[in-house]
């Protein structure tokens, strides 16, 4: 291990850290890096890969559901696909993608030289590939992968074969990674802002991530505890979830959703942030109600801790419990509404143009709102006695997750890709990607509302012929939506390696914020000396001063 010892002094001998030294070897650059931009890239590439893997599993689901009868897979494998699809999309695609954005953008947006804890930053990424390798390997074990749904409800999850322990440990690793990632985000934002970058001058993306990081810190350990209890119930004879021993399977659900509900906001708050960056740029008008946006985000985060049992309206909670969780859940519509109204007001009387990031942002606002409204319907407990565990729920959460979180990720990618690569992507293909995605995502998920209302339960591999037509639409939409994502991959590959069109420093004419003051591509090290923040650079100085 002398090489490690020799290595460590490198950092100190580096004569001028600000020069654009990238490490030379491939391993040095990617395996050992502490650079926030490299780590951001790693996260983004990893999550794109996971998106494709998780999406392929979704297509297995959609293929089996294309028509009634079992054509392709055994029911147990179908359940493994459902479970793995969700675990991979949630923990492997969406969450790491947002951490990737945080890594790339937060230091640049607040004028910091890097993340606050660069070595730990490397570790929080490099746990993930191992965690997912372990998770995915369970599919190849004799007993197959986990098949109890991503919610891992006992006692069913306790029937999982040998893969169970691997799944639990993979979840632990993801949790450790997320916790370290969020510690880093919090430390960076609280400690690394350039002088003059007061909290209420921070771009909203930074704000939403700060609040997301708090959520992560509060709930990931709870998930770790929950799966640990599953593990001991399975292997060590504890009775947490066993009534005979004085436990309760429903207790797991309470703990899981104490994590799970904030988790869904973890996936959407950074999306709110990105949208709040993009809309003002392409409306050529400052964000409407900056302070209200910050407070709304904080309120959503706060409320997210007291609504968890809306996932459990049918478990037989006492009436008071049902009412409390119903009211609390409904309340979330208010701060979320504030956000939606502020976005519309940002556009109002602007001078809009419709480049790809803007198109995705607009798609987000409409389709996320549809998903939010169906969420509100679900929150009405009595009605949820019908909606629960049907495709209506599946439609709800895919609307907020796919044209919600995932569209926002795409919007952000198009928005900052020129800054990352120094070249312009193909606007024509970007727009094609948007329109096809926007159409097919609706073909994919809108009919699922009907299926759910008409009585199709979720998590079933086969269904009665009365549900055939809409499932067919949905599957066709799914395949086309999936194929459309190949365009996305193509646009990125083209932009990174082939595009000839250089990007300006301020890629979009009226974009504001520190990231646009550095050249494109952003140099390997930015803001080694904190920038002087003048009013024109920061996003929101004007409003806050009144």
């Amino acid at each position: 291990m002398s090489s490690i010892a020799a290595h460590e002094s490198d950092a100190l001998r580096m004569p001028d850290a600000q020069a654009d030294h990238k490490p030379h070897g491939f391993l040095d650059r990617w395996l050992f890096t502490t650079n926030h931009k490299d780590i951001g890239t790693l996260y983004l590439v990893f999550s794109l890969l996971m998106f494709l893997v998780g999406g392929t599993m979704a297509l297995v689901i959609r293929a089996e559901l294309f028509m009634p009868g079992l054509q392709l897979v055994e029911p147990d494998f179908f359940n493994q696909m459902t479970t793995m699809h969700a675990l991979i999309m949630v923990f492997g695609a969406v969450m790491p993608a947002w951490v990737g954005f945080a890594n790339w953008m937060i230091p640049m947006m607040i004028g910091a030289p890097d993340m606050a804890l660069p070595r730990m930053n490397n570790w929080s990424f490099w746990i993930l590939p191992f965690a997912f390798a372990m998770l995915l390997s369970t599919l190849f074990m004799d007993s197959g992968g986990p098949a109890a749904g991503w919610t891992l409800y006992p006692p069913l999850s306790l029937q999982t074969g040998p893969s169970f322990a691997f799944v639990v440990f993979a979840v632990h690793m993801m949790g450790i990674s997320s916790i370290m990632g969020s510690i880093n985000v919090i430390a960076t934002i609280m400690n690394m802002r350039a002088p003059g970058m007061t909290l209420l001058r921070m771009p909203l993306f930074v704000w939403t991530w700060l609040i997301t990081a708090y959520l992560l810190m509060a709930v990931m350990p709870v998930l770790a505890g929950a799966v640990t209890m599953l593990l001991t119930d399975h292997f060590f004879g504890t009775s947490f979830f066993n009534a005979a021993g004085g436990g309760d399977p429903v207790m797991f659900q309470h703990i899981f959703w104490f994590f799970g509900h904030p988790e869904v906001y973890i996936m959407i708050l950074p999306a709110f942030g990105v949208i709040s960056e993009i809309l003002p740029t392409f409306s050529r008008k400052p964000l409407f109600g900056y302070a209200a946006m910050v407070y709304a985000t904080a309120s959503i985060a706060f409320l997210s801790f007291i609504v968890w049992a809306h996932h459990m309206f049918t478990v037989g909670m006492p009436l008071e419990g049902e009412l409390f969780f119903m009211y609390a859940t409904m309340l979330i519509a208010v701060p979320t509404g504030v956000k939606v109204f502020n976005w519309v007001s940002t556009m109002w009387k602007g001078a809009m143009t419709f480049e790809t990031p803007m198109l995705f942002a607009l798609g987000f606002v409409v389709l996320f709102t549809i998903g939010g409204l169906s969420g509100l319907m679900l929150s009405i407990a009595a009605a949820d006695l019908q909606y629960h565990d049907t495709y209506f729920v599946v439609a709800h959460f895919h609307y907020v997750l796919v044209p919600g979180s995932v569209f926002a990720l795409m919007a952000g990618t198009y928005y900052w890709l020129p800054k990352w690569t120094g070249r312009m992507y193909s606007e024509r293909w970007g727009k094609t990607h948007f329109w096809l995605s926007a159409i097919f995502v609706n073909v994919l998920f809108f009919p699922q509302h009907f299926l759910g209302l008409a009585g199709m339960p979720r998590r079933i591999p086969d269904y009665s012929p009365q549900f055939a037509d809409f499932n067919q639409w949905s599957s066709i939409g799914g395949f086309l939506f999936g194929a459309t994502q190949l365009i996305f991959v193509g646009v990125i590959v083209h932009c990174v390696w082939f595009s000839r069109k250089p990007a300006r420093a301020r890629v979009w004419e009226s974009a504001r914020g520190l990231e646009w003051t550095v050249p494109s591509p952003a140099p390997y090290h930015t803001f080694a000396e904190p920038p002087d923040i003048d009013e024109s650079m920061v996003v929101h100085a004007d409003e806050v001063s009144h």
Binding site: P113, N122, F130, M134, A165, T238, E529
Partner: protein, 289 residues
């Protein structure tokens, strides 16, 4: 930048420790999984994984310590470390909160329901007739058989006193450090470590008694589950805290830390106080009430 501008933030340029740590972690956890599935040979690779992780911790922290002693960290870096440690402890608190939550939920709601209170009338009548809710309990199925509990005012009370005392000794050590008095610093640290060790030994004693005499095991229904998970994870944290303090003591003996720059010491002390506070919660909710 560390060289030419005193106030610049120190950004290291490469690090191999994380990937070593990830390898150690995956070896450890994958082996643990195989082991749980009955492949007992996996315990050797499990130990290998643990060894790699320990190696990583020493290597990584050693590097940080050397950099710190060389003075490349400025106040801002120090402050990142503080935030990092504080939030790490917060995450640990939430981890314990999860188990406390399970304890409260089971005790305040589940057991009464099983006994027919509240909305549980039918549950009791049809599934668990004759079960009278009480605490401690191993449930209507009497899982794990008869057991007795550990009285609060035996070893647990002594352990409470020990941990409280150790909170005082660590503070005395801190005062000594701030006053630049090295010998008392080392002695108070040694006292703290010792108290920690005594705590762990007594805890082991208590576990032995529980298993061998009282019939109280991890499998004793919900009481045994919550009891051992809470005290067990706490015990692990005490052990870890004691090791950290031991390292701090060894470093103090080597002359590390100055009266105004000793973040590692403070981090260890915070951690120790956290362990202490969790114990108070345990003592009250697990043993006394």
């Amino acid at each position: 930048m560390a060289q030419h501008a005193d106030n610049a933030y120190y950004v290291p340029h490469a690090t191999r420790w994380p990937i070593v740590g990830s390898l150690g972690m995956i070896i450890m956890l994958a082996s643990a999984a195989y082991w749980l599935n009955g492949a007992s040979a996996a315990r050797w690779s499990f130990l290998l994984g643990v060894a790699i992780l320990v190696f990583m911790v020493f290597g990584w922290f050693g590097q940080v310590i050397r950099e710190s002693e060389r003075g490349v960290y400025n106040e801002q870096v120090d402050s990142s470390f503080r935030l990092g440690m504080a939030w790490f402890i917060f995450s640990e608190i939430m981890f314990f909160a999860c188990f406390f939550g399970a304890l409260f939920y089971a005790r305040a709601l589940v057991v009464p329901w099983l006994g027919g209170e509240g909305s549980g009338a039918a549950t009791n009548e049809y599934l668990w007739p004759g079960y009278v809710p009480h605490w401690p309990t191993n449930g209507p199925g009497e899982v794990g058989g008869d057991f007795q509990t550990i009285p609060a005012f035996g070893i647990p009370f002594v352990n409470t006193l020990i941990l409280l005392t150790s909170g005082v000794t660590i503070t005395l050590a801190h005062h000594a450090l701030k006053a630049a008095r090295r010998t008392p610093l080392i002695l108070w640290l040694a006292a703290t470590v010792l108290l920690g060790l005594v705590f762990v030994v007594l805890q082991v004693e208590e576990y032995l008694e529980a298993y061998q005499v009282l019939g109280l095991t991890l499998g004793s229904g919900i009481y045994g589950s919550t009891f051992f998970m809470l005290t067990g994870f706490h015990g692990l944290h005490v052990s870890l805290g004691a090791i950290i303090l031991l390292v701090i003591m060894l470093r103090s003996m080597r002359g590390h830390f100055t009266p105004d720059s000793h973040f590692a010491f403070e981090a260890a002390a915070w951690y120790w106080h956290f362990v202490d506070v969790v114990w108070l919660g345990l003592f009250i909710f697990v043993y006394v009430l």
